[in-house]
Each structure stands twice: as C-alpha cells, then as structure tokens.
C-alpha cells in the first residue's frame, strides 16, 4: 500500500492548535536535553520554575507586569500584519513613546488626572511619529518598511541613552544614567501590577472589534490579504496602509509609555528590554490575530519569567533566549506541517 503526502490549502483549526501545543512541548524537551547535558536536572528545574511562577502571588505579579508591554508590542506587530506591513520597529517606537511620555511627565505641570492621560496620548503620538517616515516611504515610494523600521530602532535606542545620561539626567545627582523619578505614575491595582494591564486588554479588544466589526476593518483585511482585490473593489489602499502603520506605531509607543510610567518610573537606556522584538514573536504566535495576542503575550511573559528564575539557578540568559527561539522555530515548522496530510495513493 503506497502512501503519499499531500499539501492542503489551510490546516483545520484543531490540527493547527495541536501542532502549536506539540511545538511548545518539543521546545521544552529540547531545552531539557540541553540542560541535562550541561549537568542540570531538568525535571527539578522545571518544578522550581512552575512553583516560583504559579506557586505564589509574587510570581504571578511578575508575570502580570511582564505581560503588559508584550501585549502592546505584540498587538502593534499584529496590526501591521493585517495590511501586510512588517513593523520590525516596535522596539524603536517603544523608546519613542517612553521618551514622549517622560517629556510630558517631567516638564508639564498639572494634576495627575490630567497629566497621565496626556502621557498616554504623548506615548501614542511618539510611537506614531517614529513610524511616520517608514510609513510614507512605503506608501509613496514602495520602500520596504522592514528595513526602515528596523534601522530606526537603533536611532531611538541611542537617542534615549543620550537624553537619559545628558540633558534629562536626574539633577539630584543620585542616579547616574537615568532621568529623575517621574512625578506621576500609573497606579497599581494588584500588588506591583499597575493599571496598564487592564488598559492593554481593553486596547486589544477595541482593536479586535475595529477589524471585525467596522467597515474600515473589513477594507483593511481585504487590502492585507490581496491589494489587487482592494484595488478591484475601489478601496483606498494607500490611505489604509498609512493609517494602519501609524496605528501600529502608536500601540508600540503605548508599550513604552506604560513601561516608563507604570513599571520603571524613570527613563533610562535599555528600558525596552527587547520587548519590541519579542512583540514580533508574540504576533507570530498569535497568527496576527488581535485577540490571539493575549494568550501569546501571556505565554511569552511566563517564558521570560521562567528565564529569570533559571538565571537565579545559575543558567545564563543566552540559554533562556535559546528556548524562546526554539519555540518560535518549532512553531514555524509545526504551522507548515499542519498543512500536510498523508493520503493513500
């Protein structure tokens, strides 16, 4: 009896989900083998990670804090993908948003009830401005946004380093490489977890609803799936592209705003912690679905927190990064393999 492998246009959801689960398990097994080879006991480590993360409210609070920027950056990348734009610059927009929000906090006097919303708006505008040039270049000159958004990351990173150690350096002299503590902060609602988390969830739901339940969202979905079809139906592709990319930048900017105003309280170099790049992975795991960003960001936050636990056990940060890379790698393979089935020839 001969069998052959057949490719199907799209995987059934149950198979796709199973492939996802298998990818994560395989990544963990692979990591376990590597850890065992390094002389660690992977089972004991695994237990340690689970206990630390889920066994106490401190662990869960840490995860809750990590998930906030991941939701925003993951959503930012996913939004871009809706119209076929690859925003690799969430990292830079994160910095730009943090920078703009810090500027408002440090230099605009006023009560918190006014300044915090103002910081929110400034963060969004900062992120949007940071993606403006790549957006216009893509829309009017067809310049690949993958390169332009990526390169602007380095500019934003260095810009924030410079202001935090130069013009905006804490005048009290107690901090060497950060701004002063911001006079306003996003209030906490559960341990150390601040209101950025519910706001992030609301933003996800709003964006999800925007794509699912508005005429504009429908046009963007069509344009993202096939620009030719959008042209055929008379939809303004360029206008939608510009709006979606700016929205993507603004959301990434919000990640920076909440990180500086809710978690770190000071603007400093390296504040992004690679959240912008991790957002790409979150979006891939979410398959560019806004709602899917929530579980994907949660998974990523758990992995990051596990990494911190592992580091306390003497495992290097590179190993942790390797595990996240493995998950992405196996997921990509799993997504592809889910589209094949074996049939009797």
């Amino acid at each position: 009896m001969a069998y052959r492998i057949q490719r199907i246009p799209s995987a059934p959801p149950s198979v796709a989900l199973a492939a996802r689960g298998l990818a994560i398990v395989l990544a963990l097994v692979t990591a376990g083998i590597v850890l065992a080879a390094l002389g660690f006991n992977p089972l004991a480590l695994g237990w340690q990670v689970l206990r630390t993360t889920f066994g106490s409210s401190y662990g869960l609070e840490d995860v809750g804090l990590l998930v906030i920027p991941l939701i925003f950056t993951g959503l930012a990348v996913a939004v871009g993908q809706k119209i076929g734009a690859q925003n690799i610059g969430a990292e830079g927009q994160f910095y730009a948003g943090a920078f703009a929000a810090t500027g408002v906090a440090l230099f605009v006097p006023g009560p918190m009830a006014v300044i915090l919303p103002l910081m929110f708006v400034a963060g969004a505008i900062g992120g949007a401005i940071w993606i403006l040039i790549p957006t216009l270049a893509r829309a009017y000159a067809d310049v690949n946004e993958l390169i332009t958004t990526l390169l602007l990351n380095f500019v934003a990173t260095l810009l924030v380093y410079w202001v935090a150690t130069g013009p905006w350096l804490d005048p009290s002299g107690r901090a060497l490489a950060t701004t002063a503590r911001l006079p306003h902060e996003v209030p906490e609602f559960w341990g150390i977890v601040h209101w950025g988390l519910p706001v992030a969830v609301v933003v996800v739901l709003l964006v999800g609803a925007l794509f699912a339940f508005t005429r504009w969202g429908y046009e963007v979905r069509i344009a993202g799936s096939n620009p030719q079809a959008a042209r055929y139906a008379g939809m303004p592709f360029r206008r939608h592209l510009i709006m979606v990319m700016l929205l993507s930048g603004a959301i990434a900017g919000l990640a920076g705003m909440f990180e500086v105003a809710g978690t770190v309280h000071r603007l400093q170099g390296g504040i992004s912690n690679n959240f912008g790049y991790l957002g790409i992975m979150v979006a891939v795991l979410a398959r560019a679905s806004p709602i899917g960003v929530l579980p994907a960001a949660a998974l990523m936050a758990i992995i990051l927190n596990s990494g911190i636990v592992l580091q306390t056990q003497g495992i290097t940060v590179s190993t942790v990064l390797a595990i996240t890379g493995l998950i992405l790698f196996y997921t990509a393979i799993g997504d592809e393999l889910a589209r094949y089935r074996i049939v009797r020839a």
């Binding site: 339940f213 069509i222 042209r231």
Partner: protein, 533 residues
C-alpha cells in the same frame, strides 16, 4: 527604417534514414486538474530534422503538454517514447539528460550575472574552480560551435529581450539538447530578432535535431514549421504538413467549427430590446507602465440589453480593456462616456457605484482575497451598504446571510462560510464571483473569460447568467477565446489585436474564417460582411 530582411537561407535539409524512430513520441497523453481536462488522448510525434509547430488558442493545452514532456508534470495516462524507448521524467533535470530542453516564455536567467555565468550555472560540466576568463572563453567556444552569437562578458540585465532569449537557447543547447521546445518565442521579439531566431532554428534542425514550436500566430507557423499539430480544448485536432495549409485552414482548425453549445442569441418575449449606448469608449490609449502600448486607439460602444463579444488571442489588450472600463486603470488618452457623463478619470469605486460588475480574468488574484473567509469574499461588493454597513460598522451576521444567498444562487455548496475562499475549487470560486458581480451589475457587466477552467455544464450555467442579465437590459461585455461561445452568445463581436479593434461584426452575419483572420492581425476590409463600426 529597417531594410527588408533577405529571405531565410534554407540550410541543407536533414532527411532521416527510412525506419528512423521519432525522436519524441507521445501516446495517449492525458492530464486532469480538478474540474479541468488539460489534456486528453493526445498523440504527437516529432521526427529528427523537423520543426514541429504546436498551434492552439490559450488554454488549449499546449503548455501542459510540453510541461509533461519536460517532466514538470506527470501524465495521468499515456506514455512518452524517446528514440523508440519509453521514458518517464520525474523532473526537468531528467528530461534535459534525455536531450529535451525547453525555453519558457519567461526567461529563467539571473539578471545580475554575466552570460558566461548564466550558461554555466547549475551545470555538471562546469569546471569546479574557474576564473571569469575561462568561463567566458568556454562560452564563446560553445556559442561558436552552436552558431549563436552572444557576448559572454555582458550582464543579462543589459541585454535586449532577443539577446536574452538567445542566451536561454544556448543554455539549453549546451546541455546537449536534441529537442528544443520554444514556448511562444516570438511574443517578446521584434520582427528582425524573430527572423534571426528562425535562422538559428533551421540551423539547429539541419544537424538532425528537432524543434517544437508553440505558437498561436498563424503566419509564423506557416513560415517556420514543417508540420503542425493543432490542439483545441486539450485534445489533438489534427497534424498536417504545413506545406498543405493556409492561414484560413489553420484558423478554422484552431478555433473549431462544430457548435456544441446551443445558440443563446434568441430573446424571450419579456426580454429588454437592444437599447441606447450605456458606455462609450473613444480612442482609448493606455500603456502597461513600462512603456509598452497595450491599448492603441480603441473605440467601442456598449448598448443596453446587448452582449458585445470580444474575440482575440489573449494578451492583445483584453486585460487592459477590462481594467480601463472598470476604473482600475486610467487611460493615457481618450474618453469614457457613461450615460453621457465623462468617466475618464473615475476610479473603480465610482464605476461600481454606477452599476458596473466585473468578473476578472484572474479571479483568485484580482477578484478575491484568498486567505480570507468565503463570507468576506462574497460581500466584497456590498460591504459598504445596508444591511451590512450603515456607515461605520460592519455587520458580520448580515454578511454571512448575504454570502449564503450568493452561494445558493451560484449553486455552490459551502460547508463552512468561515473557511478561506482558496479552499474552494476554481470552478466554485468562479461561480461565486460571477453571482457576486451580477448583483451589482445593474448597467454593465464585464466578463473576462468567464468559462475558463469550467466544465461544460458549468459553462452552460455561466452563459445563462449572461443571458439573464442581457434580458434585464444590462450591457454585457463578454471576452472569450472560444469562438463558438462568442458566436452563441454575442449580438456583435469585436476582434482585438495588438490593442486595437480589427473590426466589429454582427454575429448573425459573421464569418468564422474572417474572424480567425482578424484574430491573426488582418484588418476587416470593406468587402467583408457585417461591417459594424
């Protein structure tokens, strides 16, 4: 002006000794794609020393047949016999090893590399460590041995299309090909370049090799080939000695005479009569964005309640015509009048709002968003009006309800409306698009090759759709390569060639031979019947 070319010098003919097996023999080849018969029961034999033309309209199965011969596709039935021995090719690499090479319509060259580098790319004879000079010298020697002039050091990107084609041919011949397959080679050439190509081909077969020459141009088939095989609808119609053929006889073989589908031109009692002009195109010119003129002073009138057929070989401006009259492409000059109003600068949305439906030629790539759901695709034309949208919102439930209506009208069984539309078969996609467009086509429907890829039953249904619209008083522009379809359905037929209308005939008085000649570039003369424009 280019001086008139001297006649092609005929090299000494190669005459195979009696009893020589054909160099290529195809027996009973069949290839089926879902819902489509690409080839069925095709026999073909090619002798050494012969240029064998493969003639047929687009979609007649020429390319599929050659893709089977070169190992790109596997036949579903039949066998390939090379030099008297049955062979099967799992890939083009195996085919070229057996001496069968193909030059495709779209060249497969690396533009940034030199001619010498392209010739040696992916070739087992290429020396392992070589300098550019050695590669260039080898290339020059090969080119000289094969009598093809190329500059080995030139970069592909700097060469003219004709020169690039010569590099492609050289690349195939250096792999010791004895059978050279050319897919519409002159489509990209100037007359002078074509002339040069013909000379090289005659040289090649004079050495005991063979050429299979795919074309739909009658004049060049007569000029270059020794024998001609005509395909229609995936089947072989005839193989003839070219010497005994004329343009008229070939045109008749190519487009077919037998009428299989019934005549649908008769109108029922309640049908709308042919009325006033709905859309008028005046002297439309357009280019393809790369400087090639694709519409060259085209004028047409679409009347209410009338089906205007567009005949012609694909690639003569039909696609651009559909784009211009649906607002997807702006004409460089000329006017489009819609109900007397100037629509020359209007966009696709304005045409759609006026009531222009459009069944595009390439439905999956221009009429559908393949990765989105059937529902999203079904509502592409009505998402912006109630009940789907009152302005800002988008009502998913109303969208699904509309999608169900459209699928039902199109007789497409859909298990799950959330499934990506690309999971539907080509025929079902086509029916869905057709029904979707009919709903908005209150004034004009543009249907480009609506029956392409459908089986006979589905074609009949599609034709009935068009008749239904005609009887409602809609102006229908019906583009097809199937002459019998055009004759069955159209009230008038316009023939396009090189972006122009060669002539418009009333179908009642149409002469199939005249249409065939116009499709080959002959202008309708005054003595021809049914002069319409």
């Amino acid at each position: 002006m280019i001086a008139p070319e001297p006649p092609v010098p005929v090299p000494t003919r190669f005459v195979p000794p009696p009893g020589t097996a054909p160099i290529v023999q195809l027996r009973g080849i069949a290839k089926y794609f879902p819902g489509v018969i690409a080839n069925e029961d095709v026999d073909l034999d090619v002798m050494p020393g012969e240029i064998h033309a493969l003639l047929g309209e687009n979609g007649a199965g020429k390319s599929t047949l050659m893709n089977i011969l070169t190992g790109i596709y596997q036949p579903d039935a039949g066998e390939i016999v090379i030099d008297g021995y049955p062979q099967s090719f799992a890939s083009p690499v195996e085919a070229i090893a057996a001496g069968i090479g193909m030059v495709h319509q779209h060249f497969k060259l690396v533009k940034a590399f030199t001619v010498a580098e392209n010739i040696h790319l992916g070739w087992s004879d290429t020396p392992r460590a070589v300098s550019a000079a050695v590669l260039e010298r080898r290339t020059a020697e090969l080119a000289q041995a094969l009598n093809l002039t190329v500059d080995p050091a030139a970069r592909i990107g700097e060469l003219s299309t004709g020169e690039q084609q010569r590099v492609e041919i050289l690349r195939v011949l250096t792999r010791k090909a004895r059978v050279l397959i050319l897919d519409e080679p002159t489509a990209v050439l100037t007359p002078a370049e074509a002339h040069e190509l013909f000379r090289a081909l005659k040289d090649f077969v004079a050495r005991g090799n063979a050429v299979i020459f795919i074309s739909h141009k009658l004049d060049e088939v007569l000029e270059i080939s020794d024998r001609v095989t005509v395909l229609r609808g995936g089947r072989k119609v005839a193989t003839e000695q070219t010497a005994g053929c004329t343009e008229t006889s070939l045109a008749r073989l190519m487009v077919g005479r037998e009428i299989v589908l019934s005549d649908m031109r008769g109108r029922s009692a309640g049908a709308a009569p042919i009325g006033a002009p709905v859309m008028t195109l005046e002297d439309i010119r357009a280019d393809d964005g790369q400087g090639h003129v694709v519409l060259d002073g085209l004028s047409l009138v679409l009347r209410a309640g009338e089906i205007l057929g567009i005949a012609g070989v694909a690639g003569n401006g039909q696609k651009e015509l559909t784009q211009v009259i649906t607002g997807m492409r702006q004409a460089a000059s000329g006017r489009i009048l819609v109900d007397g109003a100037d629509f020359s600068r209007a966009g696709a949305a304005e045409f759609a709002d006026f009531g222009v439906g459009h069944i595009p030629e390439d439905r999956l790539h221009s009429g559908l968003a393949p990765s989105l759901s059937i529902t999203d695709n079904a509502v592409l034309r009505e998402y912006d009006r109630p009940p789907l949208s009152g302005g800002f919102g988008f009502n998913g439930r109303a969208a699904t309800a509309l999608a169900k209506d459209i699928a039902e009208a199109a007789s497409v069984t859909v298990p799950d409306f959330g499934m990506p539309v690309r999971n539907l078969s080509g025929g079902n996609q086509q029916r869905l698009v057709a029904r979707r467009e009919m709903r908005i086509a209150s004034r004009v429907l543009v249907a480009a090759y609506p029956s392409r890829g459908l089986d006979v039953g589905a074609i009949n249904m599609m034709m009935r759709y068009l008749v239904e619209l005609r009887d409602k008083g809609v102006a229908v522009l019906f583009i097809s390569e199937e002459l019998e379809e055009l004759l069955n359905l159209s009230d008038r037929i316009a023939v396009m060639f090189h972006g122009r209308v060669m002539g418009v005939v009333d179908t009642a008085e149409a002469d199939i031979d005249t249409i065939g000649l116009m499709m080959g570039g002959k202008r309708l003369t005054d003595d021809a019947k049914g002069r319409g424009h």
